[in-house]
Symmetry: none
Subunit: 527 residues, 2 copies
Amino acid sequence: MSDLHVYDTTLRDGAQQEGLNLSVSDKLAIALHLDELGVGFIEGGWPGANPKDTEFFARAQTELHLRNATLAAFGATRRAGGNAADDPLVRALIDSRAPVVTIVAKSHVRHVESALRTTLKENLAMVRDTVSFLHGEGRRVFLDAEHFFDGYAADRAYALEVVRAAMESGAEVVALCDTNGGMLPDQIADVVADAVSTTSARVGIHCHNDTGCAVANSMAAVDAGATHVQGTINGYGERTGNADLLTVVSNLQIKRGLPLLETGRLREATRIAHSIAEITNVPPYSRQPYVGASAFAHKAGLHASAIKVDPDLYQHTDPQHVGNDMRMLVSDMAGRASIELKGRELGYDLSDENELLVRVLAKVKALELRGYTFDAADASFELLLRREVEEDATFDFFEVESWRVITDARGDEDALSEATVKVVAGGERVVATGEGNGPVNALDHALRRALAPAYPELDKLELIDFRVRILDAAHGTDAVTRVLIETSDGSTSWETIGVAGNIIEASWQALVDGVTYGLVRAGVPVR
Amino acid sequence: MSDLHVYDTTLRDGAQQEGLNLSVSDKLAIALHLDELGVGFIEGGWPGANPKDTEFFARAQTELHLRNATLAAFGATRRAGGNAADDPLVRALIDSRAPVVTIVAKSHVRHVESALRTTLKENLAMVRDTVSFLHGEGRRVFLDAEHFFDGYAADRAYALEVVRAAMESGAEVVALCDTNGGMLPDQIADVVADAVSTTSARVGIHCHNDTGCAVANSMAAVDAGATHVQGTINGYGERTGNADLLTVVSNLQIKRGLPLLETGRLREATRIAHSIAEITNVPPYSRQPYVGASAFAHKAGLHASAIKVDPDLYQHTDPQHVGNDMRMLVSDMAGRASIELKGRELGYDLSDENELLVRVLAKVKALELRGYTFDAADASFELLLRREVEEDATFDFFEVESWRVITDARGDEDALSEATVKVVAGGERVVATGEGNGPVNALDHALRRALAPAYPELDKLELIDFRVRILDAAHGTDAVTRVLIETSDGSTSWETIGVAGNIIEASWQALVDGVTYGLVRAGVPVR
């Protein structure tokens, strides 16, 4: 393993992205994914500066069990004229209990004078006081030197003096930040090399993508001696975003041969990038390097036969390295193998069922093309597989005749939803209605009420989460809606999926799968 | 003006992007935009290889009046064992009448042998014969050396021999192509420098973005002596796309001081990038450098007061250089300064309106606590601010009495949605219904139908995007749904927001804001 730090700031700087708004639970879920990926550090937010981040660190103490990563709290140097020990924001960093504290400091003379409105001397004192206080309290202290590259151009000596002040006071890393993102790789390389050779600091790099060079700038910094790289998943961040951490790590690991992540971890990159996009609800960018849906997609054409003979001639790396797929190949062994494995989990030995495996794989690929995503809906995939392996009738618990949901409101009153569901179950036709604070809630109530006479076991089921994603929203009209529903039976929960042009229809599909899976799981026979 | 070639291949290599499909008229319209931008060369397609491209060049003769750019036709070297004068695809290049012909040739030994299935010697003969024939016919000939960088790594001497063969036969440019996109800037720089110093060629560069470095690679090539840069608008292209030409040109012109485009042309960049996206129907990427909607959008509230004093401290270049704008995003991190700045954008001087600023800020914070996120819904924030600054009645275009939406389905049929809306507008009570492929679509149709008698201006509005987010249950209450809607009037679009327990109610709020904003924007009086 290389000792280069992989430092993720998705939860803090990434959250600055326009339109991105993460709840505390979102942040905890993302942190788990980051830890699974194997990053060294997870910057969780700015405790004390906003209540949500304070709560994140409080809940992390009990709820977030990290396997590999170290949690970092972000904060600023103490106020001008005060002292660190009495500064409430500095205290909040201690209270967060994060083992690493990353302090942002000004290193650009004009920013010190016109944004911070203090003297150059006091700014250095603020750095020294804050770093040494936190260090004295037993924290590992990293410094983010804000606007460093612009500051270096304005006053090289002062910018480097900030680096030295931090190191001398106990900082372990000084990350040089291209805060405005206007640098090009040669400038980054020159400045990093100077900082590495003229200070004793462990130098880090923090880039933004305003010139389209955030990845290259991060690479240039590492080549020039930086040993700490900051970035965000999917390049989230303010304006044009931060350096895309997965691209930087993939480049360093695959192209430069630096073993940054534990063996096998990079193979989770595509899945993790997409899982995090599900949480942020920012549509994944299909042209994203390495992990994008199109990253290894070849338009069928004149190269098709040559690709079949020797794929390496037409791809810059093996997509398996990052858990992605070349998309021209229809049947690949990996796909079949994972379906076989899933079957074994469910108690089916499919090792000799090659035809069935090919059929299931083709079905999955066709459905995913229409917008299904089975890695987020295990229960729906399990039903699909069981239906192929066993007789269809095994799962015909009920037949849907029709459903209808009405939502209405008068003036400024709250809207009400009411659903009617007509089914045949246990040999009886049942018409049931349900109300809810939304159309899906109402449908859920009506469906379970209709099934209650035949299947009283459904009484304990509860719809606990509902997520909606509009796919291909390019021109509104042909957009398809993907709905994920999580259902619980009190002791465990499962995810099901529906995809349709109509959001209510997609929700209905997911509801029906959720209820059906509940019956399968409980071992209830068809009545 | 620098004599560096700006060579656009949006219409040829860009069109290889997954899901992109351009008609001949689309291509002609894009070519006009490219010419207006001021690129030197427009690669129009491959005449002879597909009928659409043959037609493009035929129609370009009479319909495309280029002010500045030169049209280039793309093709390949003649077939192995034949001769150029008799090759129908080479003849098609002559017939296209394009003054520049760009020929793709193999320069990688393995590709010659296993994809082209000919000898290394014959491949060189194909280059010489094709280039000298076309040159003899009075065409300017450029050569695209395919897989050059991988080929150089496999057999440097042979790769360079291909460059020499082309130059000696009359080629004006040899563009070195990183066809698989796997290179990093330092590799590009080394190879380009070698090609420049050991051949007499005018060297060009053609990059793909598979390592996230297409822009930096193009810059590195220019720094190493390349004087011809290829790329595509919005970085369109196969897999991760080609180098984004506008980012490369902006970097070279703004950061390196190379005057590539005529004075004032770069100021059209944002408008032209978005106009071309309208034609390709690929949603613009908001985080795109220089021209993206978020490229100069600031969220962090702590910076706002400093930005007010000195915007240059917080942006890497003046957005006006590329025809973009600085935007302040209002979020829960916002302060009074950012609201004042936003007011200034809308034409209100609020510098002395401290009480109003405090009131607006309190309102924003209270709404964000309930789940609103105004940085993603500029138009809703603008309505909120305008309602505080002006009389409320200024925006009372209509009064909603009630609305209702029904979604139903029988058996396996597709669901249908139908909405009824009752409003008072222009002094009349109107009841209108609308259908749609989803409840929000149906409500949108019904609402605009109800308002049409009083406000015929709404006819041209279109709902173009719809996003849904379920927010965590806060303090034991029910989950809340946030809906963002994007509405377009054909030339511009705006985002509005709704938050409610019921997803349909949240959608309704966002729809009402979207329509109201459309009326405000068009300067329509209350009727």
